[in-house]
């Protein structure tokens, strides 16, 4: 590793008596008497000593270098007379000015045109040096100020950013420009081309009180004409939860951290953990969710449940949300679910509630391992699911399965069967919905912790069979009036289900409908009988 030549710079300042002599450049410092009428004789001009000139020059050097290269450069000043006086330690950061090239910039927006000469790293003009001969570059390059068209914030194709400082920092044009930039405005700069045309090549802007020049790409982009997103994967789906994901993004924005602050956990790890918690159940499209379509009735549960810790108030708020839904259901209020992509009238109210409870349980269950408090919310959801559901549904469910079987034989049969028309409609709806949902189901299953997802579709007709069926069973058993034994069993089952290792065969056949249905049919009698019995 070689250090750059500009890493350390030593200045030796001649501090001998000769330097106490005048530089013989007189300055009229008393010029303010002219405006007065009294006819005062101005004071005699003064002159700096050679030492003063030396000091001024070194300070100006420090100013420029410190502005442009604030880090990684070391500078030392030694005054030499009868002995060497070290004036500073290496800790002052500086850098050689040889890396700096001046540039002029014209301010065309004011009535009187004047230039502001700026200094910055020469790499900011690397592109131009390749296009222009050294003589053309000369002592500077003139770029023209061009007023930005609009204030829209955009991400420019930037190839480099370098600090700048004005050559004459206290001149009026300089401070005009720097104040303009420090107040948060941007200046676009145009570069003349050989052909006579102009192109916007640079951008001046300040970041936290430091002014930078950004080099913008002036050449062709390799990313031009990208393939249309609508023609790619997922491009035909039209009901993405764009706004909801926007909210999720806003909640997960970065915030500056004080580096002196202690942290027991790396912020990056914490950030990822938060992103993970909040996406345990996150349906990507509107038609795949009920809960997130009726947020005004479910809030604040969905946002609270993904928190790492729940305090007493949070638990209470979550439970209030659940009780609110129970209340709605008992008052026979319809859920304000938007009708999307469903044939006919859309799902019936009871079906909506069933889907909603199912999804709500899935959501809460996905977070139930975060803390005992989270688990208590899950218990609450499980307890609150309509106890009478089984009574109403169980016979229906049997009907459904039958209908599906029938449908496979002849699709017209179900519609002609007038005796079970209600069940038939429902079966159709379920089937449609299942078709729509299967991919996400698969996705959720792939994404989520399988342990958490076991009961995702508990007691929904599309619930993929064996293990889930078992769970459903335990879930349903615990409904209705409860004994302590039922509660205890329920608790034990939930503990066991977490330890349960998924059957390898079923893991691999996820989303494969062809394999799911025969199993369902095969188990129809065995698994549904107890439910019937209970009802």
């Amino acid at each position: 590793m070689t250090f750059p030549a500009s890493h350390k710079t030593v200045f030796i300042l001649d501090h001998s008596p000769e330097f106490a002599e005048s530089c013989r450049q007189n300055i009229d410092f008393d010029i303010f008497t002219k405006s007065r009428t009294t006819g005062v004789i101005p004071l005699a001009p003064i002159a700096k000593t050679l030492w003063t000139c030396t000091c001024e020059a070194t300070l100006e050097y420090c100013r420029i270098v410190n502005d442009i290269f604030p880090y990684g450069k070391l500078l030392r000043f030694i005054a030499s007379d009868t002995e060497a006086h070290i004036l500073n330690s290496w800790k002052q950061d500086e850098q050689s000015i040889t890396q700096v090239r001046p540039r002029e910039e014209q301010n065309a927006s004011s009535s009187a045109n004047y230039d502001v000469e700026l200094l910055h790293h020469k790499d900011a003009h690397v592109d131009m040096f390749n296009h222009l001969s050294p003589s053309e570059v000369g002592n500077g390059i003139t770029l023209k100020w061009c007023t930005p068209r609009s204030n829209t914030v955009e991400l420019h194709n930037c190839t480099g950013a370098f600090r700048v400082t004005p050559v004459d920092v206290i001149s009026r044009p300089s401070s005009c420009l720097t104040n303009f930039l420090l107040n948060g405005r941007q200046v676009m700069l145009e570069q003349p081309r050989k052909t006579g045309s102009k192109v916007i090549s640079h951008l001046l802007t300040s970041h936290g009180g430091v002014i930078f020049i950004h080099c913008l790409s002036t050449s062709r982009s390799t990313l031009e004409e990208p393939p249309s997103i609508s023609e790619g994967c997922g491009g035909r789906v039209t009901d993405y939860r764009i706004t909801d994901f926007g909210e999720y993004m806003k909640e997960n924005r970065v915030v500056p951290k004080d580096v002196t602050e202690d942290c027991d956990e790396l912020p990056l790890t914490r950030s990822k953990a938060q992103l993970e918690r909040q996406t345990r159940h996150w349906p990507m499209v509107i038609s795949n969710t009920v809960v997130f379509n009726i947020l005004s009735h479910v809030d604040p549960l969905p946002s609270l449940i993904t928190k790492e810790h729940l305090d007493e108030e949070d638990i209470l708020d979550c439970k209030k949300s659940i009780y609110h839904l129970v209340g709605m259901e008992s008052r026979n209020e319809s859920l304000p679910v938007p009708v999307m992509g469903t044939r006919g009238k859309g799902p019936k109210r009871e079906e909506q509630y069933r889907q909603m409870w199912s999804e709500l349980e899935m959501l809460v269950r996905s977070c139930s391992d975060l803390s005992p408090a989270h688990e208590s919310i899950l218990d609450c959801v499980v307890d609150c699911r309509k106890p009478s559901e089984d009574h109403v549904k169980s016979p229906k469910r049997k009907g459904e399965v039958k209908e599906e079987k029938t449908e496979r034989i002849s699709s017209t049969m179900s519609s002609s069967s007038s005796s079970s028309s209600l069940a038939t409609d429902k079966a159709w709806q379920d089937l449609d919905r299942y078709k729509g949902m299967s991919e996400r189901e698969k996705k959720d299953f792939n994404l989520g912790d399988t342990n958490n997802d076991h009961n995702q579709y508990a007691d929904s007709p599309q619930s993929p069979p064996p293990v889930k069926k078992q769970k459903t069973l335990t879930g349903e058993k615990s409904r209705g009036p409860r004994s302590f034994l039922a509660l205890w069993n329920n608790k034990l089952n939930s503990v066991y289900s977490r330890k349960h290792e998924e059957f390898a065969g079923r893991m691999s056949s996820v989303g494969n409908m062809a394999e799911l249905y025969p199993q369902m049919n095969a188990e129809e009698d065995g698994s549904l009988a107890p439910t019937n019995g209970q009802g």
Binding site: F3, D28, F29, F32, T38, V40, L43, I46, K48, T49, W51, T52, A57, L59, R63, D127, N130, V153, E154, N157, T159, A161, T165, P166, D168, V169, I170, H207, G208, G209, I211, S217, S219, T222, P226, I229, G232, C233, G234, G235, V237, Y240, I242, F245, G246, M249, R253, V254, V255, P256, K257, E261, P267, L268, S271, L275, E276, T279, M284, R440
Partner: protein, 466 residues
């Protein structure tokens, strides 16, 4: 990265191969055409979004096909190429430099694929002549090193033995070394034949134009993606460290940021993130159907694209080597983005202010000095009302003068203040004269006092009464 195929069209490319019985007679240029076609076919199948140009050279050079994604055009033009006169590498390289600079500027990494029979020419303009005249770190007119990052891949249409014997191998290696952008000399393995040349190009294509597949993840949401163009290994020597990174295929989103807060940072490279099929693409037959089917499956990538666009935000992705510090919105007592999302905690302000952002004193030009004296004088004339401002300006001037040993100025300003005292009108407040005299006196004594010890106002009966 954009690639330019530079094909040797000198007469020596028309040399026939040693005839093998029963087969057609091939010239070296036929082998070259065949090899390049193999390369183009591979690119058309695997990196359709890349830009490629075709140029030919002998003693002159010509841009046959400008940068394009139209691989058929490249292939058909390739077959129409004729042979010309002698090999002049220097002009050809200069030509490539111009073509790439005009099209892509100096920041886009490019790839030069030089296809030649290894006959490097003689005399001025030949490769050997050019390399012999190369002197590092001198102003010169040689085209290399290129003024943009560029790999040079030399595809030799000659046997290894031939290349070693003539010393061509070393020459080309030196060319690559001087250009300092990476690259290799490739030659057909196991003798020169149609097959070995094809193999050489295929091997190169697989190493240079393999598509980059990965996974974009945000918590449990994920999407299989392709990055186009494929990211390159990043290697850069900085002042105090060498950075050498290869992008991991696991792209993990770790946070988000408003586009305004990102403020157009410089990018090392830019890539399109394209969602790819989650299914195995083993069944090539039903490709058309697959595409339609894939379009209907929700993709996280498309969701993210939509939300970023609507919200004007960016996602911060960990590429395997990200180091960042930030804390959480929930850690703040006041919401850092404001309850109504009207604020931003960015940018973070450094503790130190730059010279243009503070009240810097520069007296190199007389105007700077005069302006600062005028500030003192202006306040002096408004004494005693502007007493605080007067002493502030006076101390600023005093400190600056002392730090550069400008004692003459202190004497001058002291005289000036004393004169102001004599010019005070009869109606002036008596405190004005007292403060001016006091300030002038202390200014003269400055040299013996501590630079940090400011001049403080004179405590008078009048000030006490205030």
């Amino acid at each position: 990265m954009p690639s330019i195929v530079l094909l040797d069209a000198s007469l020596s490319m028309a040399r026939p191969l040693p005839a093998t019985e029963g087969s057609e007679e091939y010239q070296r240029r036929h082998l070259a055409q065949h090899g390049i076609t193999t390369l183009l076919d591979y690119m058309a199948a695997n990196s359709r979004l890349e830009f490629t140009a075709l140029a030919a050279f002998s003693s002159l050079w010509e841009l046959v096909v400008p940068f394009t994604r139209d691989y058929n055009q490249l292939k058909s033009s390739l077959l129409k190429l004729e042979v010309y006169d002698k090999t002049m590498m220097e002009t050809a390289l200069a030509g490539v430099s111009t073509i790439i600079l005009d099209e892509w500027g100096s920041a886009t990494p490019c790839q030069l694929i030089l296809v030649t029979d290894g006959r490097v020419g003689i005399g001025a303009g030949s490769l050997k002549h050019m390399l012999d005249h190369y002197k590092p770190a001198k102003e010169q007119s040689l085209p290399i090193p290129f003024p943009f990052p560029c790999k040079i891949q030399v595809m030799l249409i000659c046997s290894q033995a031939e290349a070693l014997q003539s010393g061509t191998l070393n020459l080309f290696q030196k060319l690559i070394d001087i250009n300092n952008g990476g690259g290799n000399v490739h030659f057909p393995e196991g003798g020169l034949s149609l097959k070995s040349v094809q193999q050489m190009f295929l091997k190169f294509a697989e190493s240079a134009y393999a598509p980059f597949y990965g996974t974009l993840r945000c918590g449990h949401l994920k999407s299989d993606i392709q990055l186009a163009p494929a990211p390159e290994r990043y290697y850069k020597k900085h002042d105090f460290k060498v950075v050498d990174k290869v992008m991991s295929p696991d792209l993990e989103i770790c946070s988000f940021l408003d586009i305004g807060d990102v403020s157009s940072p410089p990018a090392i490279s830019r890539h399109l993130v394209l969602p790819t099929s989650t299914k195995d693409s083993s069944s090539k037959d039903g490709e058309e159907e697959d595409t339609t089917e894939d379009g209907k499956i929700p993709s996280f990538c498309v969701l993210l694209h939509g939300s970023l666009k609507v919200e004007n935000m960016v996602a911060i992705v960990q590429l395997g080597f990200l180091k960042m510090m930030y804390r959480f919105i929930s850690d703040y007592e006041v919401h850092p983005y404001g309850e109504d999302d009207s604020k931003t905690p960015f940018p973070v302000r450094p503790l130190e202010k730059r010279s243009y952002a503070q009240n810097t004193v520069v007296w190199i030009k007389p105007s700077g000095l005069q302006a600062d004296i005028q500030k003192v004088l202006r306040q002096a004339r408004k004494l005693p009302d502007k007493q605080q401002a007067f002493y502030k300006e006076l101390n600023r001037l005093r400190k600056a003068a002392l730090s550069i040993g400008f004692l003459e100025l202190l004497e001058g300003v002291a005289s000036m203040l004393e004169r102001e005292c004599t010019l005070l009108p009869g109606t002036a407040h008596p405190d004005a004269a007292l403060q001016l005299t006091h300030a002038a006196k202390l200014l003269r004594l400055s040299a013996e006092r501590d630079i940090l010890q400011n001049i403080t106002p004179l405590q008078t009966n009048f000030t006490e009464n205030d």
